[in-house]
Amino acid sequence: MPRILRKLPFPAQPTTVHLPQGPVSIKPNQIILWVSITPSGLANLPGNAPRLPAVLDTGFNNTFLITEQQLVEWAGVPTQELPWIDTLKVEGQTLPLRDADVWIHLNRPGFRDQFAPQPPFRLELRGGVAVWPTGVPGGRRLPLLGILALRRAGLQVAIDFHTGYLWMRTHRRFWWFGW
């Protein structure tokens, strides 16, 4: 699966995405991917796994961050289903890293919130996802996908700030294949 995201728009205007729990506002110029989260090691993504938005954040130098509430309500995964594997220090807070797979849903080219028929791309996160506990203040409004997740997966990302589109693919074997 070389291509993951094709011509994914990141609008310069505020937008809204719709989850079963209600609308979620997206700020201008935020790069939104749709992902699912599951316990690690599943053979395939279950057909009923919810999709949730995540911000591709080039300033976030780890893998994936999500609040406990988002994990439970948006991703449909009780925290106890994701075993603890390590710990992260953020703004003086200790956050648990829990073992999980993040699946990136392929988009329909030119659309952010419409999906291609191909199966999602599994990110085998080294180090797991950071889960911001409900009782700890400071959780972010949206889940974040960070550079470390993409780097460890060896993904290639092209961002065109002139047109406002993003492409993401696995490491190319043949340089003459285009985006």
Binding site: G41, L42, N61, N62, D86, T87, D101, E124, P133
Partner: protein, 114 residues
């Protein structure tokens, strides 16, 4: 999964509160998580840290599975190792699958808001 688990060594059992992570004891971590970390997981974690130098020398970039103090195998993908452990009859929570890579500073920066 490797037929020849490497670096399998006996080590003293790890106390549930003895080994600090980022200055946080397991007891503090359990309070933070609101759940108990199974001793078998704590032991697996400690065994991985113990074996990491040897694993880095021989299998950098791969994945390794532990249950308690025992190294179960090495694989190229996490999913492969998970599936193998489950096939062996291990339940989730009885084993850890970890990436063989140098330890990194576990302090991160975040945007103020998104």
């Amino acid at each position: 999964m490797s037929d020849h688990p490497e670096n399998v060594q006996e080590s003293p059992p790890v106390s549930g509160t003895a080994m600090p992570i980022l200055g946080t004891s397991f007891a503090e971590l359990e309070r933070l998580l609101g759940e108990t970390i199974a001793p078998i997981v704590v032991q697996a974690w400690a065994a991985f840290r113990r074996d990491l130098p040897g694993l880095l020398a021989k299998h950098p970039g791969k994945w390794v599975a532990y249950s308690g103090d025992q190294q179960l195998g090495i694989g190229t993908t996490k999913t492969q190792l998970y599936q193998e452990c489950l096939r062996r009859g291990l339940a989730r929570g009885q084993f850890l699958v970890l990436s063989i890579e140098p330890e990194m500073p576990q302090e991160i920066d975040l945007p103020l808001d998104v």
